[in-house]
């Protein structure tokens, strides 16, 4: 089913999304990939160290504040764009392989991250964190970077400029096409759809 959704994405929204739904996302999306995630984790570790004696609640509050973007109900797009030509907000901008962020994703999901856009399989621990937090994993079409860039209306640098193509960006997107792959009930389109079309050899 085709659905239009607007960020930030709440549990109200994710509870109605099912694996296989075709969605058009509009609003703010944050871009981060491997190197940026590694820095997120370092920032979280530091916040945890500073507030651990004040209890779990304080740790979580400090940690959410330690990230360079508001993580509550946020969407992260796993992507590293090519440079923008003059007069354009961004260059080619398709998804990168999500599994490289699997190590980091559960921690962000537990802090309130609601959606991830990427491509490719996720581990069981990410799947569990998606269910636990009523989140969602979307796939965008890999290798359609030129097409997807047309849905990006604005791109601002958030931080980690020194990482080049891996810097954290804040995007404004309009009708960005994606498919729900893992929904909050743990349905996984990569498994069900492939089974549906697999034939005897």
């Amino acid at each position: 089913m085709d659905k239009h959704i607007v960020t930030p994405i709440t549990a109200e929204v994710t509870k109605d999304l099912r694996a296989g739904d075709y969605v058009y996302i509009s609003g703010t999306v944050y871009v981060a990939r491997d190197a940026a995630h590694k820095r997120f984790m370092e920032a979280l570790d530091k916040a945890e160290e500073c507030s651990i004696e004040k209890g779990q609640e304080e740790v979580e509050r400090k940690q959410a504040g330690a990230l360079p973007f508001p993580v509550e109900n946020a969407v992260i797009y796993y992507m590293g764009p090519s440079p923008a030509r003059e007069g354009r907000p961004i260059g080619s901008a398709g998804p990168t392989t999500a599994s490289r962020m699997d190590k980091y994703a559960p921690r962000l999901l537990d802090l309130g991250l609601k959606a991830m856009i990427g491509k490719g399989k996720r581990t069981q621990s990410v799947m569990d964190a998606i269910i636990r937090n009523q989140a969602v994993y979307f796939a965008a079409v890999g290798g359609a970077g030129a097409l997807l860039s047309k849905c990006i209306k604005k791109s601002d640098l958030v931080c980690y400029d020194d990482l080049g193509a891996e810097a954290v960006l804040k995007l404004e997107v309009e009708d960005f096409p994606a498919v729900v792959v893992i929904d909050c009930q743990g349905n996984n389109l990569y498994e069900t759809a492939v089974r549906k079309y697999a034939k005897e050899v």
Binding site: S82, S149, A165
Partner: protein, 281 residues
């Protein structure tokens, strides 16, 4: 007769080839995608294939790279043995072309200087260059920028002679199955059989630069290419890995003599953004 080629010509051509490869796919890939749109059975799969075609149009018309991962530049330099180079070292000339192409062409710089320390070189150099010496007085350059979503899913299998052709087929199917959605299907599968450990990997990479609609000249290899394409497309993975009957657009297999005790097989997977540009100087 010795023929002189100025290495600045090499730089200029490599520069242009980097930009060309990343904005326009070769005709054979175009055609393979077009055929796939017609034969795909899954509605979502068809939709994705149409988007990939639209993506190619936008890339060419608006000069936006086909994919944001503009790859690590792989260069095959086939040097006629009557060629004499004049100017800077050939290797430097190639890298200078990559440097200029990637910076001036707004392509992504995805190369790190050291695999462990991981500092970006900021100009996408160095290229991975494979030299060979051939007859004649020409220089044939093949540039194939390689994205790593699919490179990461590539495999080498050191099979035993007793595993035979069935073992090879299983290895190919296993690699494609394990790659699943990660390699941005529909994929092109480059296979190298024989040689040594490193030779079979190189054969597989070379196989990816062969046109998608061109078969091996060896009868049993051609048959295997067709059979593997058929079987891979029955795995169900489909466009984007979201289910369907188009998982691969082509299977290209290259072979080489090998040792009595071995059967090396390399499976180099490439996404549908299978970029390769050839120029002869």
């Amino acid at each position: 007769m010795i023929r002189t080629i100025k290495t600045e010509e090499v730089t200029k051509n490599i520069r242009e080839m980097c930009i060309e490869a990343n904005h326009y796919l070769s005709r054979d890939m175009d055609k393979a995608l077009k055929n796939a749109v017609e034969s795909e059975e899954a509605p979502l799969g068809k939709k994705i294939l149409c988007q990939l075609q639209e993506n190619l149009t936008i890339a060419a018309e608006e000069l936006i790279p086909v994919c944001q991962d503009t790859g690590m530049a792989v260069v095959f330099a086939e040097i006629g043995q009557e060629v004499h180079f004049e100017g800077i070292l050939l290797e430097e000339a190639i890298n200078e072309g990559v440097r200029q192409g990637y910076t001036e062409g707004f392509l992504r710089k995805s190369v790190v200087k050291d695999p462990i320390l991981r500092e970006n070189t900021k100009d996408n150099t160095p290229a991975v260059i494979h030299y060979s010496v051939t007859e004649g007085d020409k220089l044939k350059l093949t540039l194939a920028p390689k994205g790593f979503g699919s490179e990461n899913m590539s495999r080498i299998f050191m099979l035993k002679p007793a595993d035979g052709i069935e073992g090879v087929k299983n290895a190919i199917l296993t690699a494609v199955k394990d790659a699943g959605p990660n390699a941005c299907p529909p994929v092109v599968v480059g296979v190298g059989i024989g040689g040594t450990f490193e030779k079979c990997a190189l054969l597989a990479k070379q196989a990816l630069t062969r046109a998608a609609d061109e078969h091996s000249k060896i009868a049993y290899v051609k048959e295997m290419e067709e059979e593997m394409l058929y079987k891979i497309n029955r795995l169900g993975i489909g466009p984007g890995g979201l289910g369907g009957t188009t998982t691969a657009l082509a299977v290209n297999i290259n072979t080489y003599p090998t040792h009595i005790a071995g059967l090396p097989v390399a499976v180099n997977i490439c996404c549908h953004v299978n970029r390769h540009v050839v120029r002869v100087l």
